[in-house]
Amino acid sequence: MHKEAAIREPLILGDKNYHDITVDVVGPIENKAPKAWYVLITIAGLIAIWGLGCVVYLISTGIGVWGLNKTVGWAWDITNFVWWVGIGHAGTLISAVLLLFRQKWRMAINRSAEAMTIFAVMMAALFPGIHMGRIWLAYWVLPLPNMFGSLWVNFNSPLLWDVFAISTYFSVSLVFWYIGLIPDFATIRDRMTNPLSKKIYGLLSFGWSGKAKQWTRFEEVSLVLAGLATPLVFSVHSIVSMDFATSVIPGWHTTIFPPYFVSGAVFSGFAMVLTLLLIMRKVMKLENYITIKHVEYMNIVIIVTGSIVGVAYITELFISWYSGVEYESYAFINRFSGPYFWAYWAMMTCNVVSPQLFWFKKIRTSLTATFILSIVVNIGMWFERFVIIVTSLHRDYVPSSWSMFYPTWVDIGIFIGTIGIFFTLFLLFARFFPVLALNELKTILKVSGEKYKKEDH
């Protein structure tokens, strides 16, 4: 059996056995939802409906209702797209990269992080879709035989690479998530007494029986999917960054973009995971599984990726001066001292300064501080994308084209709306799905459980 060092902190606290894990995770699904859940889902649902209303208004009226103009053709829409895709990256990082590195602490958080990934990518995919203006022609992004002399899509374009990257990322994440869910649905199916829920979870569990050979295949498939998802997650945000980097716009045309975007994505994703999990562990009483140690590990990832992002910002500044290209230099001087200086400095404060606070053990093990900082980081990462997109565009080559971007209520409504949809989906997930990979947790109980560690020594 796998052995773990005694000085390593246990990952499962309390006096738990296999059955307790099942009860702790499945219990909230069997019992009535707490009042807070109904309050939260009502709020989130109303915001979601408002957002969908804005989308319908946008589609039926045209994207002129956004604040875009001839100079600033991409603004909040693409900012939100990149922000949401970035948030999604933490889920895959936790489930795939940490699986390859055999980090056992991922098991308590991977399920909800993957759910977050899927919902975040859904929100992200909405934005390029509605930005097309004529969303009913969205299938034109696919290489389909057509009546225009079989005019194909342009495979040299990063925007098309993005279509392939996002759709592959979404569907592979979904499959990865669902394959992990099947055995846990089987556990719920076998515990349910109400015939209707038994039937529904029976359908969802695909008749999983937990045979030895099934488990062998399960582990192999998880490993291979992790191996596939790891380069995939890096490729997705690299390709998103190439939407900008392969252009000739000063401020976008930099080779640093792919690694810079990927670490920024992981940075914001971990912040969102923390925001969600800190609430979830409290409401669903999962403190024994998502421990302070887990929070600390995630905060360490935030320090690392946040520092990479900080270095990237400073490198960009340096290179814009060192390159001697006056357009590049101007783009960056304009960023920190132009009309959008406040956005630049908000980004710098939230993303570069605030995560450094996690060097203090007191702060990175404090739940309140972590929760506040996780929201600060997400605000900062939204500003990062806004700064990159809008400040690079609003000063065109010809000064007569210079302009500003002001969001309209539709811009704001759709952004707020996606947050509502996201939280609605996440709340539904937390209510009806096993929020921890309970059968995977059972495999580490004897190695990393507090009770067993004490008995051993």
């Binding site: 059955h19 008749g207 029986s209």
Partner: protein
């Protein structure tokens, strides 16, 4: 088959600990009994070689689907961009696959991963017999919670007697033993 109304006796021995299950499996297999199946709530490492389960070939399946995806992506892009309708975009003409290859790499990679992952996932579902609407066959609902069940059949162990088997399994640490007669054609 000529034989009809044949019955097979199936013994389900339940264990409440994965470690004890492993020890019992070793013990029983050492005494020449063949274990047909083990139902467990989570993967029990080290069990497969004892009860004679071979390594799965899912990774090979994935590789083959990946290669198919890779070839299809390159073939498709060659046809769309080079053969059928070559376009000169921004002064960068599409003359040959090799010249365009750098900008074809991202889509080639994505499509390879798409095919490898989905091809393997579908194969996994089919081979496992886990598809929407399939019935669960675990003998006891507790095997998806915290119990482990070992299935032994008289078909594979023609010389087994109920009493002998029961005492052997009890000795190996089973907490519950159920025996059933199942009709087979």
């Amino acid at each position: 088959m000529a034989s009809t109304n044949k019955t097979v006796r199936v013994i389900h021995a339940m264990f409440d600990d994965d470690h004890r299950l492993l020890e019992a499996a070793k013990d029983i297999v050492g005494q020449g009994v063949r274990v047909k199946e083990v139902y467990s709530p989570f993967p029990v490492h080290g069990l497969d070689p004892i009860i004679g389960i071979k390594r799965t070939r899912m990774a090979v399946v994935s590789f083959m689907f990946g290669m198919t995806g890779l070839s299809l992506a390159l073939l498709g892009m060659w046809y769309f961009m080079i053969q059928d309708w070559p376009m000169n975009i921004g002064g960068k003409p599409s003359f040959s696959l090799l010249e365009n290859l750098p900008s074809f790499i991202p889509v080639t990679f994505e499509f390879t991963v798409l095919c490898a992952a989905h091809g393997m996932a579908i194969t996994y579902m089919l081979r496992n017999g886990t598809l929407p609407g399939m019935p669960a066959v675990n003998p006891d609902p507790r095997t998806t919670d915290d119990k482990f069940v070992m299935e032994i059949t008289s078909e594979e162990n023609p010389e087994m007697t109920s009493d002998g088997m029961s005492s052997m399994l009890k000795g190996a640490g089973a907490i519950e033993i159920n025996e059933k007669e199942i009709a087979v054609k």
